[in-house]
């Protein structure tokens, strides 16, 4: 082992300091080729028959990661210097390369050239860091060639002309990515290539030849130094750009330095920024602020038109602003109170890959099979992306994924490259897949390592489990479960016995998932990553492998199962006298559906034990519920719909609102109680590392839209506390039965989502769960489908002294990151669920144009948003056609929340019932949408 000291100068907080680091050079770093005679081949990753070994340059890894992920690229040596450079430049790409390197199916080998005695190079005087690294790459390539001998060709892949030239001079084979991929003779790989930015290439080659098009469209981004100094002086403001979901030409930058949102209108002001980018924005002078004209809905077709059309008047905003603006539109030039701005620079790009399809176009003749096409993302916030492809005819009717590479000033659209084909447009499976990809949901089958963690099947309760002192034998209890019909992953069961003293013993039994999922196993890692099961309309993406979900853990009837039980003694008034937690063995006597349970309770002739238990529980649950509501728990509503799916074609046959029965509420009540009990128990034992769930109290601004609407229909809502809100929601009874539910739905939308958090991160008053009016809450009752519950199970077991606390809990940062991931996965699972419903709604109405009743929920200047209670759909209804836009025929009364015709002949007010016609139209090819029109 050689010992070497490398000296480095480093600036920290502006100061230049000298840093001294040891750097050990080693002899025991091997080449990774299994056929090597000199090296230890135990860690070899390259294939035994490799004839060419590729050594990648940094720029190749940075830019061509999509290509590298393709399995056609193999026998690659990734140098540690390359990894280091990539890590410093782009962490996302670094993680992807690391993933490839650790994949045993790919032959990617990481060679630590920086620590190898023969490949370490010392920086020469006058040499830049970049040049030194390039030299290190060449030295490593040279070493490989010498080391492996003539049998193998070592090829340096670089797109850096200088590096390639020097390599050739030194006698190393070097090629550019393009020429290498061409030599592979795989046209589909060529599409994966990222084109070099067009500054480097002849313009005509990339863009179409019309000279008129070659003008500068966007203003230049300011250099980083100028942005930094601008931010310091307060001229520019930094923030994340958020593009309006309904109008891609309008965006906001939430900036802390202003304390307000800066609006950015139009593509030229947005200056090539994408949704989610961190940007620097300059506030325009006051007279250029866009007046806050009444808000309108932008039509999808508008996007294709010239930009000026969109600039001023069409701004659809999610939340209506309060500035009252009456009278006719247009003439009154009121200057907006909100600053407008334009983007001067992009601090951090949020580019990733996008799903969508190609804009239909005729097949071009000639040009060597290379076609330029425009890609239209499914997400409307993303502009069209220009791509080059050699397989246009294959892609035209497909859903594809495209990644963005660059966006230069001369082109209206960013340019990108093709990544992957998902499937045919309109195909239900493809569209479902799209939903999953868009929401970053891993639907791949479980890997063999994960499956290896499962207990052998068929599984049954073993004598060891029964004799285990920590596990109580509760098989004699009459336990049953109540779930939605057809539920296979039953994770909760109940029992209820009358005690001799007049009290009740109530037990909630939860599947003992942690008995099978041990911390630190691949199974646990996979579940941590997935976070939750995802329920789509036609399928379920499990968090845990199917044998666990549907068999081993599922508390099915008449089989012995392991459970984690919470057992209370309750008075007939539903006061909890004592609670007890134990691991147990149970044998469910019945797996009921909500409908069955409800029918049993309602049928007064039935007197069998299970039915009596059900009735007892129901009466307890009702008392618990009323007490909870008294405390101020909100009864919120959402428009959940249920599809009836054809078993053969998997097409939706019917949709309707999800019906909530008393039985649902009964089960829910006991689950809530169990969760609260467990939350108290774990927090008492682990005040700093418990995983809890909180629901922040909504601020007044968040409730503003609700109050506005309520005031317009003459309902007064008191939002001072959750109790007051709950009461006033109860009193908000309109003239029809659905009115109250509608108000509740609107209230639900104003609230933020409940989130998981680590108890050490916040102070106890912040643990509060607003919606449930509970000071503490967590998730314990669904460990099969939620990872949070698995964590809570472990905490509870540790608090009872059953098992040790896994090491994750000692590391608060890690626990916080797990909680963040869970929140992210939950949100995505919800979004995916909704998108799946939307997709099926579309499929359903494709064949069945329908007339139905709808309620107006939001008023805009050229129309309004309606909600269709029967199907749980929301969508825009336009009052004006596109041609007469801005003609001022309609005006909006903000206070009354009404839209009136100028001559006063017609008016629509909020929450009013209107008759509408629903039909699927396809205004742009491949973007079918549900159109709602007034009848």
């Amino acid at each position: 082992m050689l010992h070497n000291k490398s000296f480095a100068k480093k600036t920290r907080a502006g100061k230049v300091t000298k840093q001294l680091r040891e750097h050990y050079l080693r002899d025991d770093i091997y080449c990774g080729a299994p056929f090597c005679t000199v090296c230890n081949t135990s860690g070899a990753r390259l294939s035994a028959t490799a004839s060419t070994v590729l050594v990648l340059d940094t720029n190749v890894v940075l830019n061509q990661i999509d290509l590298l992920e393709n399995p056609a690229i193999e026998d690659v040596v990734v140098l540690s210097i390359v990894l280091e450079e990539v890590k410093n430049k782009n962490l996302a790409v670094y993680n992807r390369v690391r993933a490839i390197c650790s994949n045993p199916k790919r032959n990617f080998f990481v060679f630590s050239n920086e620590y190898h005695r023969e490949t370490f190079v010392k920086e020469m005087t006058g040499e830049t860091k970049n040049d030194r690294n390039d030299r290190a790459i060449r030295v490593a390539a040279q070493w490989y060639q010498n080391h492996l001998g003539g049998a193998v060709k070592v090829l340096l892949i670089t797109n850096d002309k200088g590096n390639k030239r020097k390599a050739s001079e030194e006698g190393i084979f070097a090629e550019t990515v393009e020429s290498y991929v061409k030599s592979l003779d795989r046209p589909d790989l060529l599409d994966l290539l990222v084109r070099p930015a067009s500054e480097d290439v002849d313009m005509e080659e990339v863009e179409d030849l019309r000279p008129s098009k070659r003008k500068v469209i966007y203003s230049e981004h300011k250099p980083m130094s100028e942005i930094t100094s601008g931010l310091h002086r307060g001229i520019y403001h930094q923030g994340k750009l958020r593009v309006n979901r309904y109008n891609p030409f309008e965006a906001y930058v939430g900036s802390e330095s202003i304390g307000d949102e800066v609006r950015v209108y139009g593509r030229s002001n947005m200056n090539r920024a994408f949704d989610g980018d961190i940007v620097a924005v300059e506030v325009l002078p006051r007279d250029q602020w866009h007046e806050e004209k009444s808000l309108s809905i932008v039509r999808e077709e508008d996007e294709d038109e010239d930009e000026d059309v969109h600039l001023a008047p069409n701004s659809a905003d999610d939340a209506p602003r309060t500035a009252p603006q009456q009278g006719s539109s247009g003439e009154v030039n009121v200057v907006s109170s909100r600053p407008s701005g334009c983007i001067v620079g992009i601090i951090k790009r949020n580019w990733h890959s996008y799903c969508g399809s190609l804009e239909p176009m005729p097949m071009p003749a000639g040009s060597g099979g290379i076609a330029h096409a425009l890609f239209v993302s499914k997400d409307r916030r993303i502009p069209k992306i220009r791509i080059q492809t050699r397989q246009l005819e294959n892609l035209l009717d497909k859903r594809i994924i495209v990644a963005v590479d660059s966006w230069d000033r001369q082109s209206r659209y960013p340019s990108g490259h093709y990544v992957q084909t998902i499937g045919e447009i309109g195909d239900r499976d493809t569209e479902s897949e799209l939903v999953l990809i868009e929401n970053d949901i891993n639907s791949r089958p479980f890997s063999s390592q994960v499956l290896a963690c499962l207990p052998p099947l068929p599984w049954s309760v073993s004598p060891e489990d029964l004799s285990n002192p920590i596990r109580q034998d509760l098989r004699h209890l009459r336990v049953f479960s109540v779930d939605p019909p057809g539920c296979k992953d039953i994770d909760d069961a109940l029992h209820c016995y009358a005690l001799p003293n007049g009290n009740y013993e109530v037990g909630v039994h939860i599947a003992d998932v942690t008995n099978f999922v041990h911390p630190g196993t691949p199974l646990d890692d996979e579940a941590t990553e997935r976070g939750t099961s995802v329920y789509l309309v036609e399928r379920r993406i499990d968090m845990l492998p199917k044998p666990l979900t549907e068999d081993i853990c599922s508390l099915r009837s008449d089989v012995e199962r392991l459970a984690f039980s919470v057992i209370w003694e309750m008075t007939p008034e539903a006061d909890i006298i004592s609670s007890r937690y134990t691991k147990s063995v149970i044998k469910s006597s019945a797996a009921l559906s909500y409908i069955e349970a409800q029918a049993r309770m309602d049928d007064s002739r039935l007197m069998d034990p299970v039915t009596t238990d059900l009735r007892n529980m129901n009466s307890l649950a009702k008392k618990m519920r009323s007490r909870r509501i008294e405390r101020g728990a909100l009864t919120l509503a959402s428009a959940e719909v249920k599809f009836q799916i054809d078993t053969e074609t998997h097409d939706p046959l019917d949709i309707g609102m999800y019906q909530i029965r008393e039985a649902n509420q009964m089960v829910e009540e006991f689950m809530l109680a169990a969760n609260v009990s467990v939350a108290e128990q774990i927090l008492k034992n682990f005040p700093l590392c418990s995983l809890l769930r909180r629901h922040p109290t909504p601020t007044r601004e968040m409730l503003e839209p609700l109050l506005c609407t309520a005031a317009a229909v003459g309902v007064h809502l008191d939002v001072s506390s959750s109790k007051a809100l709950a009461d006033s929601l109860d009193h908000a009874v309109g003239d029809d039965p659905y009115f109250n539910k509608l108000i509740r739905i609107l209230a639900t939308r104003c609230m933020t989502q409940a989130v998981y958090f680590c108890s050490g991160d916040l102070s106890p008053p912040e643990y509060h769960h607003y919606g449930l009016a509970s000071p503490l809450y967590t998730h314990f009752t669904s460990p099969i489908r939620r990872y949070a519950d698995v964590i809570v199970h472990r905490l509870l077991a540790a608090s009872l002294g059953i098992s040790k606390l896994p090491s994750v809990f000692h590391d608060r940062l890690q626990l916080t990151s797990i909680a963040d991931n869970l929140n992210y996965r939950h949100r995505n699972a919800q979004m995916a669920g909704r998108a799946s419903v939307e997709l099926h709604t579309l499929i359903y109405f494709r064949k069945r144009p329908t007339d139905t009743d709808a309620r107006i929920v939001k008023i805009r200047s050229n129309g309004f948003f309606v909600f269709v209670p029967k199907y749980g759909i929301e969508g825009p209804v336009y009052l004006t056609t596109k041609a007469e836009q801005g003609s001022g025929e309609w005006y909006v009364d903000e206070q009354q929340q009404k839209i009136k015709k100028m001559d006063g002949s017609l008016s629509y007010s909020i929450l009013q019932t209107v008759k509408i016609h629903m039909e699927v139209v396809e205004p742009q090819p491949n973007r079918p949408k549900l159109q709602l029109t007034l009848i």
Partner: protein, 241 residues
């Protein structure tokens, strides 16, 4: 931050179980009764021992054993621009105490009643693990001074980062804020005389990390023994025996 790459190399190219290069030299301060320089990688420490000698302050006299005093300091240039520590701050007082107690445990103080032994250690260059280096240097210096000891105390640190136990943390790894165990043992007697830890560690992992630190201490002990042997041979040669 990634302190151990997936290839199993640390930031400075060592593997998790490897120590930095160590070097020891006896007799760096000729005026002292015993002295030594000890290096662990870029950490460099000098130790000088005076005594056993007459007590400077009679009131401190202990009639049954010798008084061991220790003074630890860091040279102003030892950390470069990193920080400037004045003498007598909390940290150096604490380290002085630690070294004194560790050394006292192996010196046969009862053989030298009513006398005092002074140990001065100074860090010339700091790059993590100064505490261990000081103890090792002090051991060598005591041995050089010919003070009777029951064993040679050696010390080594170990940490736990990226779920990997790491031996002999350098400054970068040390300042990561992870657990940092400093261990001092009597290698021949197999006894622990010093165990300190920053941060928290589950007990079973602590055992692994401690085991690693013990291995490290033993390796250092072997090296120190060699150095002493070599030194003794030279003394022998100079005397012409």
């Amino acid at each position: 931050m990634e302190f151990v790459s997936p290839e199993g190399l640390r930031l400075d190219g060592r593997r998790p179980m490897e120590m930095r290069q160590i070097r020891a030299e006896i007799g760096a301060v000729s005026k002292a009764d015993g002295s030594a320089v000890f290096e662990m990688g870029n950490t460099k420490v000098i130790a000088a021992v005076y005594g056993p000698r007459e007590l400077q302050n009679r009131s401190q006299q202990i009639s049954s054993q010798a008084l061991v005093r220790c003074e630890y300091s860091m040279a102003n240039f030892s950390t470069g621009d990193r920080m400037r520590k004045s003498k007598g701050d909390r940290r150096s007082t604490e380290i002085s105490l630690v070294i004194r107690q560790t050394m006292e445990a192996c010196i046969l103080t009862h053989l030298m009643p009513r006398s005092q032994i002074d140990i001065y250690v100074q860090v010339l260059q700091a790059d993590g693990g100064t505490r261990s280096a000081c103890i090792n240097a002090a051991t060598l210096a005591l041995a050089d001074a010919g003070i009777p000891m029951c064993d040679l105390v050696t010390s080594c640190s170990a940490g736990y980062l990226n779920t990997t136990p790491l031996l002999d943390l350098n400054y970068v790894e040390d300042s990561a804020g992870g657990p940092d165990v400093t261990l001092g043992i009597l290698p021949k007697l197999d006894k622990v005389t010093l165990l300190q830890m920053d941060s928290k560690l589950p007990i079973d992992i602590l055992e692994n990390v401690m085991q690693l630190a013990i291995e490290g201490c033993k390796a250092i002990a072997k090296y120190i023994r060699e150095v002493l042997l070599e030194n003794t041979k030279q003394l022998e040669y100079r005397r012409g025996v």
